[in-house]
């Protein structure tokens, strides 16, 4: 009987995974990720970094975009640790932010993708371009949760900013919150909040004013769900969150 239950559970799991994959396949705009990884782990998709304009064919430009791609992958691996698997998605590349519609987000969500990143190099000589981020679990709280950050110098921005290391814990925390894993969500939300705050302030603040305004709106929402996650975690009998006291105005904040 136990074996039957296991088989049955596996069958259901495989069916869900197949349905999720089909969902990803069905979308017209975006090609599938060439290596989407195992179904049961959180994932970060790293799409192609493309050079736009006439210089796309030169070997030097190709090396440059490969370098940016590798830089993105390695830093996301370091910042997500063992919590998420960073996948190289080959030629997958959104032609427009609008490619990330509800259907696409649902497909990504079913595949347990929490973050998708891509890049465009507009001027290989100056290094100007933009980076795109789809924060999959953030869509319900701060739609459309797709951010394209222009930069006068792409690698310079990547080097100085720590936005990638901020986004990884943030989206993982939101996802854990949505899955009602409140105790697991809080440490990630606190780490992401602190790191994203440092990205949005100071001399090396990332992106333009519009981007920073949208990020602050996201931060406000994240603060709210952090408070909510701590309250929910406290409801579980025996939870150590019961030891965590609110501030004088009754809200729960990350330590500072």
């Amino acid at each position: 009987m136990f074996q039957n239950a296991v088989h049955s559970a596996n069958w259901i799991r495989n069916a869900i995974a197949a349905a999720a994959l089909t969902c990803g396949v069905a979308h017209a705009q975006l090609t599938n990720c060439k290596d989407p990884g195992p179904p049961d782990v959180f994932k970060i998709f790293v799409d192609e970094v493309r050079a736009t304009g006439g210089s796309t064919g030169s070997a030097r430009v190709r090396e440059k975009v490969q370098g940016i791609h590798k830089f993105l992958s390695e830093n996301l691996k370091a910042s997500s640790g063992d919590i998420a698997s960073v996948r190289d998605c080959g030629k997958r590349f959104p032609s427009d932010s609008a490619d990330f519609d509800n259907k696409e987000f649902d497909g990504l969500d079913n595949l347990r993708v929490v973050l998708e990143v891509w890049g465009m190099l507009d001027d290989p000589v100056k290094g100007s371009g933009s980076l795109g981020f789809a924060l999959v679990p953030a869509r319900p709280i701060a739609p459309p949760a797709v951010y394209v950050v222009p930069s006068a110098n792409l690698l310079n921005s990547l080097r100085q900013g720590k936005q990638m290391s901020a986004f990884a814990p943030l989206v993982l925390g939101i996802r854990q919150y949505q899955n009602k894993n409140y105790a697991d969500a809080v440490p990630l939300l606190c780490a992401g909040t602190q790191q994203l705050n440092s990205v949005l302030t100071g001399q090396s603040a990332l992106g333009d004013d519009a981007f920073r305004t949208r990020q602050r709106e996201l931060m406000k929402k994240v603060k709210e769900i952090t408070d909510s996650a701590i309250r929910e975690a406290r409801r579980t009998p025996g939870s150590p969150f019961g030891l965590w006291n609110p501030t004088s105005d009754g809200t729960f904040l990350c330590p500072d």
């Binding site: 070997a59 190709r62 090396e63 440059k64 490969q66 370098g67 940016i68 791609h69 590798k70 830089f71 390695e74 830093n75 370091a78 910042s79 640790g81 000589v125 290094g127 110098n153 690698l155 310079n156 080097r159 720590k162 290391s165 105790a183 697991d184 809080v186 440490p187 606190c190 780490a191 909040t193 602190q194 790191q195 440092s198 100071g202 090396s204 701590i230 975690a233 009998p237 025996g238 939870s239 150590p240 969150f241 019961g242 030891l243 965590w244 006291n245 990350c254 330590p255 500072d256």
Partner: protein, 471 residues
């Protein structure tokens, strides 16, 4: 009757074993990634993998190998004072496909930790590497270094990654006060450093430095006669290709300025030989750490691990070693001022604090310095439960030693409560319990302000009991 050949092999083996059993400081250059090795006798090994380049530009791939050799030699020459240290630089032979995963940290690390066997089909190629083994001894330390190179205009950027550990041992630091203890680990043992720029002129200087460092010379002088360190090339892919004399590793006998005098075994002649390597030449006279400040982190991290291995094995540590490690780690922190919330900087402060605390043996001055380092780290990453516990633990140890009682106990209790919730580790609850017991058994604070009363403490302990034993 043994053949002359086997007698020679046996003689060489005995000589090599004799040479390396007294090994305390040793190095290996141009080690083939496909068969990773560390020095068995060294308490701490620093292993530097090549800085990889995503493109097909051969000169940049070559630059990645060169930079790793310079980093390894520079680090080795600055950690000799710790004693019992090894440094290994690995690379892929020319001609091996660029997508071969052998040089990736995720391939090399399991082999060095003994959780994954190396490809023993390759063992014959490296048969004469006595004194070295594939896996670390349990309890011994490792600093694994790797990196990425990428182009930006005419400049090249290098980003370094470091992972540090002791095999099969948790890096927890335990603070003692009044019969209670609090423990926590450094906040991360895997760090990505800020990419650093090499201008064209610095690349040229690197080339010159590499040319100087890649030789074993008769005298500590760049113009003295010398033999080049053996290079890995594709043709060197069969049995016997590893016969070059210093490939098996070398033993460092002394350091003189930027030079180290090494001893090595020449297997072809069965002789011990000596020579000099220009190991810390930097770039055009400037130290390499001016461009790559993370080198200071790597050195200090090796010092931290060396201290912890000595403590665990109950062996003496060089008296000047703790101060050197703290100096190197603080050097990295000072060089990294542009990143106030950088986790690498926070971990460097935690390692410096750990060295101060562990080597200070309860002296007030060391406890004050340690508490200051841990608190600075906590401010950088206030969300991290280990950073909170290290800071509170060090403050508690310091206050107990100095005054025999504690101040600001509300703040301490609030922070440790948050740490116990943020941590998935059960030890966090034990830490909070230890803190409450300690506060309860200590004299009343000098002032009631900012401090918990005994009734409040008892109430909190009751609440903690309900958490520790949920129904």
């Amino acid at each position: 009757m043994p053949s002359p050949g086997s007698a020679r092999t046996c003689f060489l083996t005995v000589l090599m074993v004799l040479l390396f059993t007294r090994l305390t400081q040793a190095g290996m250059a141009h080690r083939d990634c496909r068969f990773p090795m560390v020095f068995e006798g060294a308490a701490v090994n620093v292993v530097v993998l090549p800085y990889s380049y995503a493109g097909r530009n051969y000169s940049l791939t070559n630059l990645g190998n060169r930079l790793s050799l310079l980093v390894k030699l520079d680090v080795l020459s600055h950690i000799l004072e710790y004693g019992s240290v090894g440094a290994v630089q690995m690379e892929m032979p020319e001609g091996v496909p660029s997508d071969d995963p052998s040089c990736l940290p995720e391939t090399v690390l399991p082999i060095l930790l003994g959780t994954h066997a190396p490809n023993m089909a390759l063992a014959g190629m490296f048969a004469n590497t006595r004194g070295s083994v594939n896996a670390l001894r349990p309890g011994h330390g490792l600093v694994l270094v790797w990196g990425l190179l990428y182009e930006e205009g005419d400049d090249i950027f290098a980003q370094t990654y470091v992972r540090f550990l002791r095999r099969d041992i948790n890096e927890a630091i335990e603070f003692q006060a009044g019969g209670s203890s609090l423990s926590a680990k450094p906040s991360s043992q895997l760090l990505a450093f800020i990419p650093q720029k090499f201008t064209q002129s610095e690349l040229k200087q690197m080339e010159d430095s590499y040319s100087r460092a890649d030789y074993v010379r008769d005298e500590p002088n760049d113009s003295a006669r010398g033999d080049q360190l053996p290079q890995l090339v594709a043709k060197c892919a069969g049995y016997g290709c590893d016969d070059s004399p210093v490939h098996a590793g070398f033993y460092v006998q002394e350091k003189r300025g930027e030079w180290i005098r090494i001893q090595y075994m020449d297997p072809t002649k069965g002789q011990q030989k000596e020579g000099w390597i220009h190991s810390a030449g930097g770039l055009a006279g400037a130290p390499l750490e001016k461009i790559l400040p993370e080198i200071k982190f790597i050195e200090g991290c090796a010092g931290y691990l060396r201290l912890r291995v000595a403590d665990a094995e109950n062996t003496p540590q060089m008296p000047a070693a703790p101060a050197l490690a703290v100096n190197q780690l603080n050097g990295f922190v000072r060089s990294n001022d542009s990143q106030p919330d950088d986790i690498a900087k926070a971990v460097a402060l935690q390692l410096a604090g750990a060295v101060e605390y562990l080597s200070g043996r309860g002296q007030v001055e060391s406890l004050i310095k340690a508490a200051d380092d841990f608190e600075r780290a906590r401010k950088m990453i206030p969300y991290d439960p280990n950073a909170i516990t290290l800071a509170v633990g060090a403050q508690v140890a310091e206050e107990w030693r100095q005054k025999g009682r504690f101040e600001q106990t509300v703040l301490k209790a609030e922070r440790m409560s948050a740490a116990s919730a943020l941590s998935s580790d059960k030890a966090a609850l034990a830490n909070l319990n230890s803190l409450y017991r300690l506060l309860l058994s200590s004299p009343e604070p000098a002032s009631a302000a900012d401090n918990l009363t005994r009734a409040e403490l008892k109430e909190r302990m009751e609440a903690l009991k309900r958490v520790a034993a949920p129904k």
